[in-house]
Symmetry: C2
Subunit: 155 residues, 2 copies
């Protein structure tokens, strides 16, 4: 999937819209979309508090929606856009869903598993490796997180 | 949660019953139960093919059920019993659900993330660490996997 920079920024803005939904629910603002042939087939935002479900990160919600849309657990020929570097759970889920390409906005130095703490998505011992890119709309993606945590500390 | 060996074997047999459900659906036979104060509050089995959901491993199904039962994403004071060493995704999910104790039957040398490929559950950089034990009903747990893969190869 060779998307242009403009296309990548378009889809990352869609992921940012999902992050904004999380923010409006006072959740850690992370959003995700899964794209196939230029079409969004799954959307997700962090909804852990709202739904009281530990696994309900943006990427899991988007994978679940895309699996339902495709009626297939394999998400071949897709690209996952997420505003923040995936955690351990979500990196594992991306591999299990066979998603071939991941593009994220900003790093997560504390919990990221796609370059920060671990390199789950590119580990040659696992049976699925991902074409990985980061830095698309990095400032906007990071800013939303910083604003959220600043407000939380002020409370 | 200081369960006796007899209690641990009892709950692992419940996890094995879940694995058998997966086996009967021609799924990789892994089962899981989550226990709180001696009561099972979540059960799960691998249902990836049946449900066509990439994330539907035994542990995720059990965590989802326990979260719904507790109406809380935090599974404090629980013990997760699973027949086979958790993968990357499930190890991440166990941490995110704040499950304090994990007991598994047999190792998964190829995909295990609780001692084999990674040590996600005991990584001091993450904000949740788990009291981890393995080897309960190891032979029975491993045998079910070996039988499954032997049959699959014969097909």
């Amino acid at each position: 999937m060779n998307y242009t920079v403009e296309e990548k920024e378009f889809f990352m803005r869609e992921a940012l819209k999902e992050a904004k939904i999380a923010l409006d629910h006072d959740e850690i603002p992370i959003g995700c979309v899964i794209v196939k042939n230029g079409e969004i087939i799954g959307r997700g935002h962090n909804a852990r508090e709202e739904l009281q479900r530990a696994v309900m990160h943006a990427e899991i919600m988007a994978i679940e929606e895309a699996n339902a849309y495709e009626k297939n657990w394999r998400l071949l020929d897709t690209t996952l856009f997420v505003t923040i570097e995936p955690c351990v759970m979500c990196s594992g889920a991306i591999g299990l869903a066979r998603i071939p390409q991941v593009i994220y906005g900003a790093k997560n130095q504390k919990f990221g598993a796609a370059g920060s703490l671990y390199d789950i998505l590119t580990d040659e011992r696992l049976n699925h490796r991902v074409d990985l890119e980061s830095g698309i709309l990095e400032v906007e993606c990071a800013q939303m997180m910083q604003d959220f945590f600043r407000k939380r500390r002020q409370k």
